[in-house]
Amino acid sequence: MSDEQFGFLYVKENCLQCHGCEVACKSWRNIELDVKWRHVKNIWIGTYPNVICQSVSVSCMHCVEPACVDACPQKAIRKHPEDGIVVVDRETCIGCKACGQACPFGVPQYGKDNKMQKCDMCESERNSDMVDPPCVMTCPTQALLLSKMDVARKRDAEKSVKALVDAA
């Protein structure tokens, strides 16, 4: 496994909660209704009148140690050794939802065919001119970034999003 892996960085101070990333993902990947590969959520902190809110935009984190890979009885989920992207082989998936139980971010989605689907960092859609995925490109405030990073940094990114997801 490479020391340098792709990962999403979420900068909560920049997020407007506009849901542009969420809808860009659905539109560009033509995702069926009731399924979301990326979610924007609101987080409340404090009590009235000392209350603030924050946001989180979460999709598959392509974790350094993905719990879904270990949980899958069919070995349908793989992590690419060269760039760390986690992908699911929908031919092999039997829809047992063990990955959904295992994922700490609540990422795996099961649509009409009951098989797992999730963000693949647009790897399957990429061509040679591909820049960032649509979720990153559309963000008005660069709250969402995609970058190659070392494993320690990627773990930090996972930790900070996990804290937000738990609070949401």
Binding site: L9, L16, G20, L33, V51, N127, P140, T141, K148
Partner: protein
């Protein structure tokens, strides 16, 4: 592969780059990249403008088309407005275009009003029927019997006004709750409109404003984030928290509709503690001494009673504002929905003046300048609206003036209030409107008093609906005309950031219809007004409008990403007529600005800030700002509050919808599927209400059935809901909601009492009432 990513990597993805907003550069597509991406997928990328919200300037986009079908959108990196970003609405545009809720064919009503029975007719037949009716009514009742409704400024507002002016009617029906209300009070107090300096201010007060949801891909939201990062202290004044106020340093949770009381209390503190800029007041303000006497009754303790904001917090905020190096106030649409709106806005203007924050140009604060009305913005194309043809006779014929006749025309032209136009049908005072044309607006969900509005639509002689999708009240229409979305049109052009860009057609229209602009041209020709409507040619229209720039539309089209106007000799955009000079802090000239009235009397007769307003006094209105209660409130009607203890108001912007449009778009509806009442968890618990419960919300005037969202960021004595709910979403199995009681239409719940629900000067219909909430 991944060249751009490598670039990001090399930046270490820190969030303090060198771009305009202190953020790393956008990774969005440029033209060449969009073309390349499209080519790889067998698509075409067409540069044009988004059209999912608001007026111009739009956000630049690349629309991707495959096999003749519009399939997706990316932001246009080169466009100065959005710099490549696009919001959820923009991304969901193809679903809106192909929605089963689209109107495809012009319709003529054959059943009873409200029944929904129509016969399909052609575009030309529809235009012919409307023209015949208008000619007949013009002869019989005069041209003023025609009114057009326009809740907010739209890209086609000037075409509506042009038609009305040529026809001879002054009855352009503006909502009475949007932008012009601020424009009026500011112009008659400061001589122009103050703009908040996000870059230079060390304190920013975001007051009754939603800087994120309205145009998230444009500069307002980015300016806010940048100000926050640079360490400006942000104070949010709103009844509830949304993502913008959720980031503020101080939240001032006032009761809905009490902005005037809060501003008066802040003035009381500032004057009592002598935190004024004495030299600015001496040199540039008129009537300060009278204010000093007048303001004594508005103590912070009094302010606490009315606004619900603790007196200590009122004092704190007043002191921070008055003593900052440079403090700006960005006053939003939220203050324009209360019977005290004019006084709220005047009081805020006076706060800016007496503290001297108005004078801190460059170093923060507010600066005076360009107007919000037509004519603002870059370039100097010919104006569409023919304002120079207004006459006193037209002003005198206004059926329900938005501003008293003596102040007409205002920045946009002459206007009657949207609601008063409909009300005239019932009262027949001073005369009944005979034909209403509603282009892109839905009276039963857009204005208050739904039950009366339905009555009016039943009684109205002739009702024309012009829209993209089915509307809430089209069943009352005599003629329904579908129009093209902007993605199906190649006009008009857009002016933005010192350049001009043509709109490109993305796909051919999906039905037998034309654009909203062509509607006005075609109707103009059918009426015999062809001379004034370019004989029906949109190309001739655009070439005529472009003539001051020595450009033709074909020349503009040669630059698909926009043509810079500097080389064309176009003067920088002047402010709207009479809206004050463009200079920063050039008070000598701004304070002499001529008003938009026919006599051109200056906004400020003394050539100074009108703290004491002799113009208003002369017409019988309060010379000094005062507090006026909403029709129902805890302090104004305490007995009623025993039965209805919660204050209700509504939001006019949302994450994913433009007003009452676009609930039919599945990707947007998934984000906000249900009408949710924001209620504090304590208020909900006291009523046995849990999250997502269906609840009944009842006021003295009506009721709605919606769902509860337990919302920690709202005053416990206040509940709020998004307005505009009625439309279903076929793809998600969500049906239409009733327009009347029992639906989710908040407009049923408000008072429309002519003596209590309106600001006496600027209409500003009340969006406040008292309610009780229970489980359904």
């Amino acid at each position: 592969m991944l060249d751009r990513r490598s670039f990001l990597n090399s930046m270490g993805v820190s969030v303090c780059g060198t771009s305009l907003y202190g953020l790393p550069p956008f990774s969005a597509y440029t033209l060449n990249e969009a073309m390349a991406a499209a080519k790889g997928d067998g698509e075409r990328a067409i540069p044009t403008f988004c059209g999912m919200c608001g007026p111009s300037s739009g956000c630049g986009i690349y629309a991707f088309v495959k096999n003749g079908r519009f399939i997706r959108v990316s932001g246009m990196k080169e466009c100065p407005t959005n710099q490549g970003a696009i919001c959820a609405k923009g991304q969901a545009a193809p679903q809106w275009v192909y929605s089963p809720a689209r109107l495809k064919t012009p319709l003529k009503r054959i059943g009873a009003k409200g029944e929904g029975k129509f016969q399909e007719i052609t575009w030309n037949e529809a235009i012919g029927i409307i023209a015949e009716k208008l000619k007949e009514q013009k002869k019989k009742f005069g041209p003023e019997s025609l009114a057009m409704l326009s809740p907010a400024r739209r890209s086609y507002s000037d075409y509506m006004q042009r038609f009305l002016i040529v026809h001879g009617s002054p009855n352009y029906g503006h909502s009475g709750i949007c932008a012009m209300q601020r424009g009026f009070a500011f112009s008659y107090t400061l001589g122009g409109q103050p703009m908040c300096d996000y870059q230079g201010s060390d304190v920013l007060i975001i007051w009754g404003k939603q800087p994120f949801y309205s145009g998230p891909a444009q500069s307002g939201a980015r300016n806010y984030i940048a100000a926050k990062k640079r360490g400006a202290k942000i104070i949010a004044i709103k009844p509830s928290i949304e993502p913008d106020s959720g980031m503020a340093d101080i939240w001032v949770p006032l009761r809905p509709g009490t902005d005037a009381a809060l501003a008066l209390s802040m003035l009381n503190v500032i004057i009592k503690e002598d935190l004024i800029d004495a030299s600015f007041v001496e040199k540039y303000c008129y009537g300060y001494d009278k204010l000093r006497e007048h303001i004594q009754k508005y103590s912070p303790e009094w302010g606490e009673k009315v606004t619900g904001v603790p007196a200590k917090q009122i004092q704190e905020v007043a002191r921070i504002y008055a003593t900052a190096k440079g403090a700006g106030i960005d006053l939003g649409n939220g203050v324009e929905h209360a019977p005290s709106a004019n006084d709220a806005i005047r009081a805020v203007a006076i706060l800016m003046a007496v503290t001297g924050n108005l004078n801190r140009t460059g170093g923060g604060g507010n600066r005076l300048g360009g107007g919000m009305g037509p004519g603002g913005g870059a370039g100097s194309t010919k104006s569409v609206n023919l304002k120079e043809r207004y006459t006193q006779e037209m002003v005198d014929k206004l059926v329900g003036p938005e501003f008293p006749k003596v102040f007409q025309p205002f920045l946009e032209g002459t206007s009657s209030a949207y609601y008063r136009i409909l009300d005239s049908v019932l009262t027949e005072k001073p005369y009944p409107i005979r034909t209403v044309i509603a282009p892109g607006t839905q009276p039963t969900v857009s204005t208050r008093g739904t039950k009366r509005v339905i009555e009016a639509l039943r009684k109205l002689d002739f009702y024309v609906v012009v829209d993209v999708t089915r509307t809430a009240d089209m069943n009352y229409a005599d003629i329904v005309l579908p129009t093209a979305t902007v993605y199906e049109s190649d006009h008009p052009f857009e002016l933005m950031g010192g350049s001009i860009m043509a709109r490109s057609r993305v796909i051919d229209p999906l039905g037998s219809y034309k654009s909203i602009f062509e509607f006005f041209l075609d109707l103009g020709v059918a009426m015999g007004y062809g001379e004034d409507f370019w004989h029906g040619s949109m190309t001739a229209c655009m070439n005529d409008l472009l003539s001051p720039l020595n450009l033709t539309i074909d020349q503009v089209r040669e630059n698909p990403l926009g043509k810079s106007l500097q080389a064309s000799g176009g003067a920088p955009g002047g402010p709207g007529p009479g809206s004050g000079g463009g200079g920063r802090g050039n008070f000598e000239s701004i304070f002499q600005a001529k008003s938009s009235r026919l006599d051109g009397a200056p906004y400020l007769p003394q050539g100074k800030v009108a703290i004491y307003n002799t113009t208003f006094e002369k017409e019988g209105y309060n010379p000094l700002p005062e507090w006026r209660e909403p029709p129902e409130s805890v302090t104004g009607t305490p007995d009623l509050a025993k039965k209805y203890p919660l204050t209700l108001s509504d939001y006019h912007t949302s994450k994913c919808y433009t007003a009452s449009w676009q609930r039919n778009v599945p990707y947007l509806r998934e984000v906000q599927p249900y009408p949710m009442l924001h209620i504090h968890p304590d208020a909900a618990a006291a009523r046995g209400i849990k999250n997502d419960d269906w609840i009944v919300v009842e006021s003295p005037h009506g009721w709605m059935k919606v769902r509860a969202e337990l919302y920690p960021g709202i005053r416990p004595d206040t509940v709020m809901i998004l307005h505009g709910w009625w439309q279903g979403c076929n793809e998600l199995g969500l049906e239409d909601l009733p327009i009347g009681d029992g639906g989710a239409n908040v407009n049923n719940l408000y008072s429309v009492d002519p003596d209590k629900a309106f600001d006496p000067l600027i209409t500003a219909m009340s969006s406040q009432t008292l309610v009780e909430v229970r489980k359904a």
